[in-house]
Every structure is written in structure tokens, then in C-alpha cells.
């Protein structure tokens, strides 16, 4: 282990990248799945050992690619936040893989299954790369790798509208990436550097009259990343993408893709600009808060009126991203902890929920509300777990969701913004409505049609979901691994800013 230890940051990227290389040439979906499973199960080990190292030493892990020092070469720099998000992504990937085999076998044509796994591995590579890298342009490359792979994953959905959804996302995602790269370009012109931390250092010594250009760059970067993380009102691509992607795609993306974009936003705001500019001088936090509150309410209300359960949860994701960005906008210890812990909690909760719907799709081939009626009576375990995860989404105490809400509300009250605290809890009420509606449909109606013959799925699909649901409950009681690390990361981030 000791020989490998210094190279963990790059291994986290090479493992899925090379696995993708092999799966692309495999003909059998099952073989591709096997290799992907191995890769996916190795990754959490790497990510967790990095997290332990970072927490243990209190220092970020710095890895210079080809021994080129910053700012000349690309340098990977893993701090608590990066390792935390990497752990989340790899763990969700690892837990979701056993689920993938039957779900993919059922929804994807046999001859493209291995490509589907390839896309998944590339997406994973990109997402993990973003969490590792300390280089703004390298982050862009990884962002594009993950995005391109995501477009392909969505486009492989069974429904014809998957193509439209993928195309819509492609356009929006490309606009986002373009804005991001313009921002990076501006920064490069201004500072001559691409390394996040080096940029921060150089900006600090910059004459004040040049700051407007920097602020322009902030605008480009924040809007670009906000598109990727589906911040309201730049979320329009997300509901369709999640609704029409194959079940496994939604399961994986919902828990990871937006979360990594959130990571990038936090990195830019707190590790680069916040170090130089007093964030309160710019209206950026206010804009974040306004957009977040709008997301929390408007997207939640949209969820209430959805007739397709998958789209409903997709809208709910937009709303939940709103909670995360709200915590970022608060920019105090409790608020930022709330945002980070919600990245984690929402990751596991939403993955579990989409798995539940993926199982429904596996059994009855649809996720429309009308087709799901009474399915709870025929698939009690799956749907019982789905409802439990739903309680987590609402933020019932005793679930992980409550812990996030607690920090966010405390953060708002500490800021003296009681009105915001009430908006947070009021928007949770809308979650009660849509989760309640789903519960009523699946448990209190008579099963009809395919739902009447459905039964709980094989354990390979059920067990991953149950693990995540148990985790939802577990992290409602023991938060040392979720909120504890989030608080450490928040302290690190806030300690650096002006």
C-alpha cells in the first residue's frame, strides 16, 4: 500500500479510465459489467484512504503530474472537501453497480450494453477528475469528459424522447462549458495561471483597477457552473434528462453529477475568489440565495403536479440543489456545513429513490403515477424503502435529511434571517405533499394492471437500495462521517476567505 499511497489521486482517475478502455472493446454486456464492478469497487477504497489521510494529517494531498510544479504543470490537490465529494461519488458508484446489471440488461439493447458501461466509466472518470484537480483548465476537460459521456448515457434511454432530452442537455451543457472556459480564459489573461491556488495568490497582488475583469470572469464561471448544477432557472435540461435516461443512468447521475458541479462552484467561490474579494462586496451570494429560494419553491411545486414519478423526483432534485446553493449563499459555518452535508445526504437519498423507481421500471416498465398505483402492496419491501427515503427527502428527524435542514435553518437564523429560516421549512412542506401523494398512490390504491402482478425484485437490485435507505436513517443519527467531515471542510473553506 505504501508504494501506491502517493499516487492515489491519479489512480482514482486512471482506474475508471482504463476500465473504460477495456469495456469499450467487450462484446458481452455481462463481462463489461463485471469489469466495471471491479473498477467501481476499487475506487471507494482509494477515495476513503485519501479522505483518511487528509483528515489525519490536516494537510491537503498534493500530486504533481509528471513532477511538473505548479503553475507550470497540472497539480492535483486533494483537500477535505475534494476527498469528501470523491468518496460520495465512488461510494454511490460502488453501491449502484450491483443494481446496474439487471436494470441495464432490461433497458439497454444487448449490443450496446458494454458501451453503456464505457460511458458510465468515462462519466465517473470526469467527475472524479474534477474533485482531484487543482487546475482550472483541467477541471474543464474533466467536466467535458463527464458531460459528453452523460449525453450518451441519456440518449440510450428507451423512450424516443430520450434523444430530445439528451440533445437539450447537450446544448445547455455546452453553453455552460463554454461560459466556464471563457471565464477560465479571462482569468488566464489576467493572471497568467491556470492553477486555482496560484490564481488566488496572483489575484491578491493585483492592482484594484484590474478587478472588474476578474469580476467578469467570476460571472462567466459562476453562470457556467450553475448551468451544470441545474441552479434555477438554468435547470430546464434536468427534468427531461433524468426522466428519460435509462434507470441506472438516472440513479448514478442524480447522486453525483450535480454534486460535483456544486463542488466546483464551492471551489471557485471559496478557494479562488473568496480569498481575494470580499464575497459580500459582490451581489453573488444574494443572487445565489434568491435563485435557491426560487428553486426550492417553484421546482417543488412543479414536482407536485408531475404525473411521472421519475420527473417528479427530478424536479425535486432541482429543489434540493436549491438547498445546497442556499447554504453556499449563506457563507457561514452552519450554512456551508449544511450545504456540504446536504450534498452527501441528498446524494444517498435521491439515489435510493431513483433506485426504487428503477426497480418499478424493471418490473412494470413504467414510472407513471397511474401505473404505479397499489404497487406498494405487491412490492412491499421496495416501496416501503422508497417511502423511508422519501421521509429523508422531507427532512423528518431521524433521517439524514433532517441534519441538512437543521444546519441550514441554524445558518439562516445565525445570520439573523428568520424569514429565510421559514422559507426553508415551508418549502419542506411541499415535499410532504409530493412524497405524500406518491405514498398514497403506491400504498393506498388497489393494484391494477402490471402492478398487480409485480413483486419485489432480486436481491441484486433490492440490496443496494436497502443499503442506501439504511444509510439515510443511519446518517440521521450518527453524523460524524457526514456532518462532521462537512463541518471540517466548511471550516477549511471559510478560514481561507477574506
Amino acid at each position: 500500500m505504501t508504494a501506491v499511497q502517493p499516487h492515489l489521486p491519479i489512480l482514482l482517475i486512471l482506474v475508471p479510465l482504463f476500465a473504460a478502455l477495456f469495456t469499450a472493446f467487450m462484446r458481452s454486456g455481462n463481462a463489461a459489467w463485471g469489469l466495471t464492478l471491479v473498477a467501481s469497487w476499487v475506487l471507494p477504497v482509494i477515495a476513503v484512504s485519501m479522505l483518511l489521510e487528509v483528515i489525519g494529517s490536516g494537510q491537503p494531498i498534493v500530486y504533481e503530474l509528471g513532477n511538473w510544479e505548479a503553475p507550470f504543470g497540472i497539480v492535483y490537490r486533494v483537500d477535505t472537501l475534494g476527498a469528501f465529494v470523491a468518496v460520495l461519488v465512488t461510494v454511490i458508484g460502488a453501491v449502484a453497480m450491483p443494481f446496474a446489471r439487471l436494470s441495464v440488461a432490461c433497458e439497454i439493447d444487448a449490443h450496446v450494453q458494454s458501451w453503456y458501461y464505457t460511458m458510465y466509466l468515462l462519466c465517473l472518470t470526469g467527475l472524479l477528475g474534477i474533485t482531484m484537480t487543482g487546475d482550472a483548465f483541467n477541471a474543464f476537460v474533466f467536466l467535458e469528459i463527464s458531460s459528453l459521456a452523460t449525453y450518451a448515457m441519456i440518449a440510450m434511454g428507451q423512450h424516443r424522447r430520450a434523444l430530445v432530452a439528451a440533445y437539450q442537455y447537450l446544448i445547455m451543457g455546452t453553453i455552460g462549458a463554454t461560459l466556464y472556459v471563457i471565464g477560465v480564459g479571462l482569468l488566464y489573461v489576467m493572471t497568467g495561471s491556470l492553477n486555482f491556488y496560484d490564481i488566488a495568490d496572483r489575484l491578491a497582488t493585483m492592482p484594484p483597477e484590474q478587478l472588474p475583469s476578474v469580476i467578469t470572469a467570476v460571472g462567466f464561471l459562476v453562470v457556467g457552473v450553475s448551468l451544470k448544477l441545474a441552479l434555477f432557472p438554468m435547470h430546464v435540461w434536468l427534468p427531461n434528462a433524468y426522466a428519460y435516461a435509462p434507470s441506472f443512468g438516472t440513479v448514478f447521475l442524480a447522486g453525483t453529477a450535480t454534486k460535483v458541479a456544486v463542488y466546483l462552484l464551492i471551489r471557485l467561490l471559496f478557494s479562488v475568489f473568496g480569498v481575494v474579494i470580499d464575497l459580500d462586496d459582490l451581489p453573488i451570494l444574494e443572487i445565489l440565495i434568491v435563485a435557491s429560494v426560487a428553486a426550492m419553491f417553484i421546482a417543488s411545486i412543479s414536482a407536485v403536479f408531475e404525473t411521472n414519478a421519475k420527473r417528479m423526483l427530478a424536479y425535486s432534485s432541482v429543489a434540493q440543489v436549491g438547498y445546497i446553493t442556499l447554504g453556499i449563499g449563506l457563507a457561514n459555518q452552519s450554512g456551508l456545513t449544511g450545504a456540504l452535508v446536504h450534498v452527501f445526504n441528498h446524494g444517498i437519498i435521491k439515489t435510493a429513490l431513483f433506485m426504487g423507481l428503477g426497480i418499478a421500471a424493471y418490473r412494470i416498465g413504467t414510472c407513471r403515477m397511474t401505473d404505479l398505483s397499489g404497487i406498494g402492496r405487491t412490492m412491499p419491501l421496495t416501496m416501503g424503502a422508497l417511502v423511508l427515503a422519501g421521509l429523508g427527502l422531507i427532512g423528518v428527524p431521524g433521517t439524514a435529511g433532517f441534519v441538512s435542514k437543521w444546519y441550514l435553518v441554524v445558518g439562516a437564523v445565525e445570520q439573523g434571517w428568520w424569514w429565510l429560516a421559514f422559507l426553508i421549512v415551508l418549502s419542506s412542506l411541499i415535499a410532504i405533499v409530493y412524497i405524500g401523494r406518491l405514498t398514497e398512490v403506491i400504498f393506498f390504491r388497489e393494484p391494477t394492471g402490471a402492478a398487480a402482478e409485480a413483486k419485489d425484485p432480486p436481491w441484486s437490485m433490492l440490496a443496494p437500495m436497502l443499503v442506501l435507505v439504511l444509510a439515510t436513517v443511519y446518517f440521521g443519527f450518527d453524523t460524524s462521517w457526514s456532518a462532521g467531515i462537512a463541518a471540517t471542510a466548511a471550516t477549511e473553506l471559510l478560514g481561507g476567505i477574506k
Partner: protein, 514 residues
Amino acid sequence: MLPFDDVTLMMAAMAVPLITAVFILLFHKTPNLREGATLIGAAAVALIVWSLLPGIMAGERPGFELVQVVPGLSIAFELEPLGMIFALVAGSLWFLNSVYSIGYMRKAGEPRQTQFYICFAVAISSTLALAFSKNLFSMFLFYEVLSLSTYPLVTHKGTESAMKAGRVYLMLLMGTSIALFLPGIVGVYVIAGSIDFTPGGVLADAQATPFVIGGLLALFAFGIGKAAVVPFHFWLPAAMVAPTPVSALLHAVAVVKAGVFSVMKVVVYIFGIDTLTVSGANGWLVYLASFGIIMASIVALNQDNLKARLAYSTVSQLSYIVLGAALATATSITGGTLHIVMHAVGKITLFFCAGAIYVAHKKTEISQLDGIGRLMPFTMAAFLIASLSLIGLPPFGGTWSKWFLALGALDSQYQFAVAVFMISSLLNVAYLMPIVMRAFFKPLPGVETGTPVKMAEAPLTCVVPLCLTAIGCLVLFFVAEPVADLAQLIELRADGTQTAGSTPPVLGLNANDR
């Protein structure tokens, strides 16, 4: 009584109902074994909570921390007199209610009985955990578990109206708790730095302005929707669509009392009665609760459905307890605490009677009850006794709680509340006594006066519990003193020595400064 230390007993009290639930599930194919499990579990819980009593009387405050969720936010338990009284009420009545449930559910042929008994057991477990809670977070947690576990009971019938009632129930109880109760907890946490229940109140030294204190009180009074403070009371009449044993134990005892208990506990241990009286922040709640008492009674007058009338009566009676808390004097707290007990025993009897009438004769409306006392003499006699107790007439338990509440009102600066109690008592007479009179004095339809009729009571398992609780109303009149003693052990002041009303207050003596 049981040879275990108090902490073990507390754990057992919360765990036994859950273990019972597991056995209920295991025996779902054999109803007799299943109901046997319920009865044994309920008896064990009753025994356990009573075994905790001597320690509390002796001044012990057993407690333990289960887990710390985030710093400052832990699931912890500590038993004090107020929680003890609530636990005794809920724990003891569960047994009687289980006996009653068996008779009722079988006679009425209700479906999904296994689910019914499991939810019941979970609800009792969370009720006890709520009673034992050491801080607001634990209380909030079990408050929500209680809402969620009783939701399937409200929607048990599965009809459209039951679903609708269930939606109102869940939306109102969870909605108010998340939208108001939770911000209240956060507010206390941020202002006072602690959410532990502390004698004298955690807000006592927080230097909060009266406006902030009044605002926080509003968050708790409305956020604890289970206390059914007007205007958040309408879930309770809606919940009457549930099978009667649910209405009896949960919507007359466990759930609603969990609400008023929480209000009481927040007033005593979070605000501190002195903080409230000195700041005057409790004034608005005194007026609101008074209004609720009168209004709900008037609405009750107009209900023809027996359970609906009882439900509005409950709304009114709950506000007695809230009023007792809002008056924030030592005597009114004692009165409110006593009323938790007295109203529980009285109201469960009334609901038992309503359910017995339903299973025996399928009658739900008061206008159908002409002469039913001749068919069901025991049931209606119990109904009479419980009514008299609720009205507050001696020799029944309800006398004492009203007595202390009225004295508490005199002690306070809101002496008009005495009039509220008195007017409300008259209204109680007006909406309860006609039922009894109709049952006993009107002729039975289709039967000539003077001809003997054959008694047609509900099954014994229904009649025996309701007779026992009716006798309980009588017994409580004579043994009210130990209950009041226990209520007076509640530590109202930080030093713990100035406990509530250690000497009985004398009429006419303004004891504001006590």
C-alpha cells in the same frame, strides 16, 4: 416494583412496545396469539411505568443519552414528574384500550388488523419516548414518529373520506411541526445555546426581548399542532374517521396529550414560568386558549355525530391544559397537569362508549340514541359518570383539575380565565347531558314504554374496559392527592426548591409573586 434500575426500566418501557410489534407481525396468521402478544406487551408496559414511579417520587431523575447526532443535538432521555404522569396515563390506558380494541375490531370486522396493532404499538413506544425526552430535539423526533405511525391508523378504513382525513392529519401535524416547531427549536438553540429541558427554563437568562419570547411561544403553541390550539385544531375532528379504539387512546389520550404535554413542558422547562409572566409574552396565548375553549364547546353543541361532538369537546378540553400552561402560575401548571390525567380517563371512557354503541347497534348519530340506555345500561351509566367528571362535578376526578386551574387563574393577572372555566363547564353540561338524557329518558323507538327490553350490550371485552375507566373517574376524585403531589414536584424554578405550590393556595390571595 420490578427489580431493575430506573434507566433499564425506561429503556424497557420504550422497547417493549416495539418488541410487541415484532411479535404481532410474527403471529399475523393466528389472531389469538397476535392479540395475546398485544395484551402481554401492554401489561408489561403498564407494570414498567408504574415501577418507575417510586424513584421519581423520591426525587430521582433517571436519564441517559442514546446518541449525539450533531454537537448540541442529542437523543437523550430524562424522566421528571410531568413526563412521569404522562407516561403513567398513556402506559396504563394502553392495556385497557387493547382489551377494548380486541372486542371492537373483531365485532366490527375491521380489515388489516395486524397493521392496526403494529401501528398502535409503535405509537405507544414513541409516546413514551416523547414523555421521557430530555431535550427539544428528542421530543421533536418522537413527535414526528408519533404522527407518522398514527397516519395509517387514521386512514385505516381506506375509504375516500379516510384518505382525505389522513391528508389533513399528516399535512397539519407534520406541516405545523416542520414549519413552526422546528424553527422554534432552532430559535431556542441559537438564542439560548441549549435545547435541554432545564428547571427554570433555558430562556430565563437569555435576555431575549418580550417580542422574541412571545414569537417563540407562538412557534411552539402553533407548531405543536397535536395540542389542537385554534386555528390548528381541525385535524382532530377529521381524524375521527379512524376506528374508535384509535380515537379513544390516540385522539383522546396519547397523541393529543402528547401535544399539550409538549406545550406544558416547553413552557415550564424552556421558557420558565417566570420568564413568561415577567415579560407578559404569554398574554396572547391566554386569550387565544380561552377563545378556543369557548368556541370549540359551542361548535360541539351543534354536532350530531357522537364522535365529532366528543372531538370538539376534546379540542376545548385540550385548551384548558394549554390555558393552564399559558397562565404560567404554579397552581395553573398543577391544574393543567392534573387535567391531563382527568381528561384522559374521562374522555377515553366516552369514546369507549361511543364505540360500544357503534359495534352493538351501528349507531353513530346522537339523534339515533333515543332510549338506548335501556339496551345498554352499563355503557350509558359509564357515559354519565365520565360526562360528570368532564363537567367537573364531585365526586369525580375532573373536579380537582378544574379547581386547580381556576385557582391558578386567580393567582395570575388574567383572572377573567376563571369565568372562562365556569362558562365552559356550563357548555359541557349543555353538550354532554342531553346525550345521557336522551338515552335514558326518551322512549326506545318501536318499543312501548313500560315493556321490558332485553339488554343488548357490546361484547364484554368492550364493556369491561369502559366500566373500569368510569370507575377510574370516581376513584381519581379520592386519590387526587398523590397525583397532585406528583404534579407539585415539577421543578418550576432553577434552584429546584421552590417547587410548584407546595402549600395549597388560598382563595382570594393574589399570589403573583410566589
